[in-house]
Subunit: 326 residues, 2 copies
């Protein structure tokens, strides 16, 4: 199947890497709002095309994987592209998912295309595991822990402070809390009891580091509700030790079964990712396969990962899956 | 929906407990090949019915959950019951799944019923996680570890040795191997490097314990390929410390992404179960909901967990799932 990548930042490059690793997929083109000549991609002999010229590609792309940001890009891009293409996006603004879904669904149904929104790992693989675990253990409690990993949003928030040149924020799960839950306990936990925040900051020469530290640790919502550490480092150290984008986390559900709730059952789904954008890109590529197959079957409209049978993601045939994977 | 339980051993009791915990399910009847009067079930005001009288229940059961054994019961029971009922089974003889599937599919399609085979945790939830992880990380390696948990098959094998009164065998994963894989390594591992076997044995008075130990550790396939420990205990200790049926395990996939495979990505799905049959029963009950819904939509024939969209398992509506679970 022929894949288009719309937007070429970290996520777009992650999708490009994933497409190479899936033998049934070819990258047809990368679309960019920038000057196409300014962009050098990793795949040889694949054109970089201005988004202005996208309509010429209407019949040459089986699935368009949209790699824009959730804040402002995707709410516009995904409905608009669903008018002409099968699409996959990674919209992650949880509270606005129903509205985004409805907007995309309307366009996809009118155009007879298949769209999948909010794919990736959270929302995405974590959501799937929340659903499966909750269905299997109706009497239980859910916990999601993130990290250790880089939060782009929190890093950006620090960079906006006066006197900060660069910053990297790691979200770190509190191991003691995870261990309690893995042992079958079902505590009520505050934000502070679940996650710590570790900040690495490059300050301008002569900047007041105490003021910067205070502004960080007292920032409402972002840092105030957590135990936050701030470490000032040089730009060299930032580049050397903090240039990667690792992430991960765990979805844990503990449930009770048996007479008088005598038995604890614990389900944990854990991701340990060296590269967040490459893993997210890998999930988007796998789901692009499913979107293509559903579109071929005439199953149009907007979907979530909850609507897609697992077999649709696999390179293997149904017979192979029964014989070797089940 | 009205659930029937066919067979009332450990698994049947596990399903009964799960049905109680799902507010949209009612237990309609328990069917047994034994004398119904000899059976006392946990749910009040629910009849225990002889399997001879099952046809009287043809229109009173929405889904029949079949709780027989894989060796001889299910290959007969599931196709035969699929002629009259929507059914779910936990057939776990991996190598014979394609044949069982074909047999059940034929009967279910002829009768316009919906059947799900090989549900539970392995096959079942573990299979799902193998499929998802493999689709997301095509360049990678899969590992399944079982335990710590009681293997009924291995316990039975010990009980067949002369001089053995009772036995319990725990399958124990080798933690060092799991840690290597969690750290992104992809070793080739022998059976011995993945699992250990711990046996607790009650011997007859005067039995030759050295001979029993030798017979166990040298038993082909069951114990010879593993590091096996044998501990002789009293019947009192067996009852006191080994009467539960815990189990669990991990499905781990490590994959590579990025330029020159520079990044490792690790996905782990881990179960820690106080009660194997109650957890398996919980999975069967959740999938019974999906089978009922598929049957109501006219989606007949045999299915595997791979064919069922996650949303079909959930008590929540599609709108609720989008708003709160995704």
């Amino acid at each position: 199947m022929k894949i288009g990548i719309y937007g070429y930042g970290n996520l777009g490059r992650g999708v490009e890497d994933a497409v190479k690793r899936n033998p049934d997929m070819d990258l047809a083109a990368v679309f960019t709002r920038r000057n196409p000549d300014s962009l050098k991609i990793e795949t040889e002999n694949v054109p970089v095309v201005s988004t202005d010229d996208i309509m010429a590609w209407k019949d040459k792309i089986d699935v368009m994987i949209i790699c824009g940001g959730s804040a402002t890009d995707l709410p516009e891009m995904t409905p608009s592209l669903a008018e002409h293409f099968n699409v996959v996006d990674s919209y992650d603004n949880h509270s606005s998912i129903p509205v985004h879904f409805a907007n995309v669904d309307k366009k996809a149904k009118e155009a007879s295309t298949t769209a999948l929104i909010s794919c990736g790992w959270d929302p995405g693989m974590f959501s799937l595991n929340r659903l499966y675990a909750c269905a299997v253990l109706p009497d239980g409690s859910d916990y999601t822990f993130w990290g250790k990993g880089v939060s782009q949003g929190h890093s950006d928030a620090i960079r906006r402070i006066e006197g900060v040149v660069d910053a990297r924020q790691y979200t770190v799960p509190v191991e003691e809390a995870m261990e309690r839950i893995r042992n079958g306990e079902t505590p009520e936990l505050t934000a502070r009891e679940k996650h710590k925040r570790e900040c690495y900051v490059v300050a301008e020469d002569g900047a007041d580091k105490d003021r910067i530290r205070d502004e960080i640790v007292n920032m409402p919502a972002y840092f105030a509700p957590y135990d936050t550490t701030v470490t000032f480092i040089t730009m060299e150290e930032m580049k050397e030790k903090h240039s990667e984008l690792p992430h991960g986390g765990s979805v844990i559900r503990t449930g009770k079964t048996g007479k008088d709730d005598c038995h604890s059952q614990v389900i944990e789904y854990k991701l340990t990712l060296d590269s967040n954008p490459e893993f997210t890109g890998s999930v988007l590529a796998a789901y692009a396969r499913a979107v293509y197959r559903m579109s071929e079957k005439g199953d149009f409209g907007c979907k979530s990962v909850f609507d897609i049978a697992p077999a649709e993601l696999s390179l293997q045939t149904r017979d192979e899956l029964l014989a070797h994977m089940l």
